[in-house]
Symmetry: C2
Subunit: 228 residues, 2 copies
């Protein structure tokens, strides 16, 4: 049994939005799929520990913003590696409230879908919510981000709450300059590559990064990084 076989399942990358009593929240998910054509229904698997799970359970509706391939790691970190219990995830990003009140991300978004929950299935750590599509639209051109692109090109990790999380993700081989791992999200700072999105050229060791530099995935400070 080789559990990496499960990584051969293809996914996209989505921000799932939800609302409860006027509050809004959102999180990254890769497990969105269409269930039926008539009527159009979609499903998403959400971890019970996530605030978005509580909001969908109580609010009975959710949105899907289909992320563009160009979505930066900071955006994915904001929605994927932080909890809505501590941060206002939709602060400082463009969004709108849909007809049902759910927030819809507009930055780096190709298509948006709004759904009303019709069924749900308890699957242990996660719940599958099945929602009837209330509205949907394409709002930008360009390729969508796939889960494979996120992992292979962007170097992204799966948070512990993700269905696809693996505890024993293989470490990459050591390089001459010291690599550091973000203890919050697992992002690896590789001095050979630098951090182009954060304005850091290749060749700069972690020790020499400016104090204001933060993890491009989850926004944590340099101090939480530990040697790989």
């Amino acid at each position: 049994m080789d559990r990496s076989a499960l990584h051969k399942i293809s996914y996209g990358m989505y921000v799932i939005g939800a609302t409860r009593e006027g509050e809004i929240n959102g999180q990254i998910a890769n497990t969105v799929f269409q269930v039926t054509s008539e009527p159009a229904t979609i499903a998403v698997s959400i971890n019970k520990d996530n605030l978005t799970h509580a909001f969908i359970s109580d609010g009975g509706k959710f949105s899907v913003s289909v992320l563009a391939q160009s979505a930066p790691m900071e955006l994915i970190g904001r929605f994927g590696f932080k909890s809505g219990r501590e941060t206002k995830k939709f602060a400082d990003v463009s969004y709108r409230r849909a007809a049902t009140g759910v927030p819809i991300l507009l930055d780096y978004t190709i298509a948006v879908i709004e759904a009303a929950v019709k069924k749900q299935l308890d699957c242990g750590t996660h719940t599958i919510f099945v929602g009837e599509v209330v509205d949907c639209d394409i709002i930008a051109d360009g390729p969508c981000m796939t889960y494979e692109y996120y992992h292979s090109v962007k170097g992204g990790k799966s948070p512990k709450a993700a269905p696809t999380h693996q505890q024993d993700q293989p470490k990459e081989p050591a390089t001459a300059k010291k690599r550091y791992v973000c203890s919050v999200c697992g992002y690896v700072y590789d001095p050979e590559k630098g951090d182009a999105e954060g304005g850091v050229a290749a060749g700069v060791p972690l020790e020499e990064l400016p104090d204001g530099w933060v993890c491009p995935v989850c926004g944590s400070e340099k101090s939480v990084f530990t040697p790989e």
Copy 2:
């Protein structure tokens, strides 16, 4: 509301295998996803009209063969556009019976997953089956076929039973030479492109195709094609 937004959800392409009283069957599905990590569970949405649905309902287990990008249209047509009630789908392909008895396709397959059904959710025309992973392995290198690749590069269509089927799929603009549609599966023969997999060069009109030529998707004879 623009339902093409639903086409921005990313999927892979899979053959779902199932067994009942010694009989075996399989079908194409794009709606496979991992639900939980511990224990590892996966879900698939299957149309109630399909024989595979009956086999999974009765047999309580299913397999997933993750198709390679190189999988030919004939293979997809065999498993996606024909019914196991009329054809033995696993005849003439390489497969093995897994420990639980489900058939696993070995041709053009990157990874295989075997699952035992733990839960199911009635979603109208379809059922979502959630299965605990019994075994899984990677059996070949190379890229997996994505649903987008199937549609955009291979020119594939969605059968009526698929969750992602759209009745009003837009027609492509008319071309100088006459295009013909397969009345069984919706495949469009475009003489400007020919049928490279069937050994037909670009520029050959349908009328001049050899009598033995069959639809590369579903295997139907030339006589079922009608002008677009």
